[in-house]
Amino acid sequence: MARRLPTRRDMRTLALLVLLLGLPCVQANAQDADAPEGAVIDSVEMSGFSPYSLSPGLQKEFDSLIGTPLNRERLSQLVTRIEGEQPEMVAAVRSVARPDGKAHVIFLVARISDDTDLSENINARYIVESVDIDGPASEVSQGLRDDLQNLVGKRLDTDEAEKLKDRLEKELPGRDIARRISKGSEAGRIRVVFEIIEAPWIPFAPTRSKLVYHAEQGWSGVLDIPITVSGSRHRFTAGLVFNDIDDLIEEYSGFRLGFESRKIGTDKLGVRLDFGHFNATWEDATLSALSINPAIPEPYRNRLTFEPTATFAFSPSVRLAGGVSLSDLESLTHAPDSQKANAWIAGISADHTWKAADGRSSQSVEASYQLRAAVDGLDNDLLYKRHLGQASYRYKQGRGEALGSISLGYISGQPPLFERFSLGNSTTLRGFDKYDIAPTGGERMFHSSIEYRYHHVGVFFDTGSVWDRDGDAKIRYSTGFGVNNDSFFLLLGFPLNGNDATPIFMTGVRF
């Protein structure tokens, strides 16, 4: 930023102003000691500004000070009036004791633009009363804490404060530091707070709340109510599902209860317990397809699941998870007979976001792989291994946003219907109906999507296929457009190589 060089007079005025503003915290010697309250004012001086430039009323007030007892509140009000009349200036006042006990009052007025600190932040005129760290202060070195305290008692030096903020960021990698200021305990004093913002190593699982409409499949509703406790370390979730036909091949309703802790002794270890009870209903297309394919396990009336897992974070970006998923599937046709589908779970996930130095663009990547293995030894009726790999990329600049994602799935053995892959809903192969593609889902799956949005209005192109091990993989394409901002969407999808070219309307909220 180009700046006019201050003149010598400006500099002198500034130096005086800075001196005066800083004086309250400096041990004054006998010669320039503050005059006591009530001392008679014998002279008044204004430096850095002509008193004749003030309004007549203020000039009169200024002149009338001589001979009156010193009243600091009155002087302070005059300073405020001077600044009110001259908004491009800052003013300060000091009263100096004369040897004869009288008081000499000096008003110092300086142009704001001549002081870099004041130009950057008008609060730099105030004296720092205290400096606090909001967050784990014990993790900050003693040397840095001492340097932070050195700000106390002086005018706020914004450059120095920024340097200290940078040092805090270096000492606490992976955390954001924010500096804020608040009023102090008395006028003209401020408190400075350096806030340490911790990014969790283990995030809570995304909740599934949504209200989605798909023109071929109808409405799906899920409401998760999370309750976070213990400083965001633990979370309970109670969830209700109303006719969710968007996720799986089955349409299901029921409830789930969950508990998550993302800090078990350390930020690197977390646990999660999920319990759910769901009632499943089936589309005619699914039941018809099942009747001619006895290799697929039978449909169920009720699904009871319990899923305890533990997560270990190698870093805030990379996490390893493991656990078990226990499911009891009550037969649709032979109740109360049921089948057990109990699987070990192992997975790894990584995510990272890069932000441009100017803050105008960002890139984020997410990738995950999960294996669910229902093997002997877990009291299983259905044995299978399900592999799912997913990756997504997002580039955001201003109002524009480009997204890409890919998913690959593979199942061996005899998976229950809720584990089978399906495509053709409000997030995959948009424009198709999953019951037209694969009414019983499939054991192999591939899907990719690219999308561009500008100010939440975008176009997308989806590609995918879902098939069984002895079937053919027919690649399907769809495209569409609409409003999509992750939380709310209103889209029209067109199948490009389906049997039916009718577009499909989709809308809903996810939260």
């Binding site: 704001i112 950057e120 969790p200 995030p203 993302r262």
Partner: protein
């Protein structure tokens, strides 16, 4: 329930789509006007505030905010550009006086304090000028204006990916969308003629 019965009727879907599409139109009208002071062309904007929302929150936390204004003169509503002026300002909020202070970047620097929000916004526009003689357009030639502000150096709030879909996060996200809207805005107007 059969799939056919589950489907909403076409009028329900149409009504929903209309509501979704029409809702963003409920914004207050923003208007531009121009005036001249000597050779300087100045712009005034109505319903174009920037000291609100996230920016105001930051200022009231004692932080300063850098705002860049861009004034573009166009020969047609969508271009081409005749001339463009860019001016940066640093805004802070005096915690004790409860008034705004603004500093104009560049040479010569200018600063002012003790302003209310509306006055601070107007002061920025008063200090965003363009030389009329440099435009090279006649008094009867129509022109259009585009005024943009961008708030700089506001790091986004750290988002916990785990909270991305909670009810509270929805409120936060909707607020953040509002925040993003607070950080950059533009308004266009015309045709104008030189005063």
């Amino acid at each position: 329930m059969s799939r056919a019965a589950r489907r909403a009727s076409p009028w329900q879907v149409g009504l929903m789509a209309m509501m979704c599409l029409v809702s963003p139109l409920g914004l207050a009208a923003q208007t531009l006007s121009v005036n001249a002071a000597g050779d300087a062309l100045r712009v005034q904007a109505r319903n174009f505030p920037f000291l609100e929302g996230t920016v105001l929150t930051r200022l009231k936390e004692g932080r300063s905010v850098r705002v860049d204004f861009e004034l573009t003169v166009l020969s047609k509503p969508e271009g081409p550009v005749v001339k463009q002026a860019v001016q940066g300002f640093t805004v802070s909020f005096d915690l004790w006086e409860e008034r705004f202070a603004v500093s104009r970047a560049g040479s010569p620097p200018r600063s002012i304090s003790h302003l209310r929000a509306n006055d601070a916004e107007n002061w920025c526009l008063e200090n965003l000028t363009m030389s009329i003689s440099s435009l090279g357009i006649g008094r009867d030639t129509p022109f259009w204006l585009r005024l943009v502000y961008r708030v700089q150096d506001l790091a986004p709030v750290t988002e916990d990916p785990g909270d991305r879909y909670t009810l509270r996060a929805l409120i936060d996200r909707l607020s953040r969308r509002r925040e993003e809207a607070d950080l950059a805005k533009s308004v266009s107007g015309g045709p104008f003629r030189l005063p």
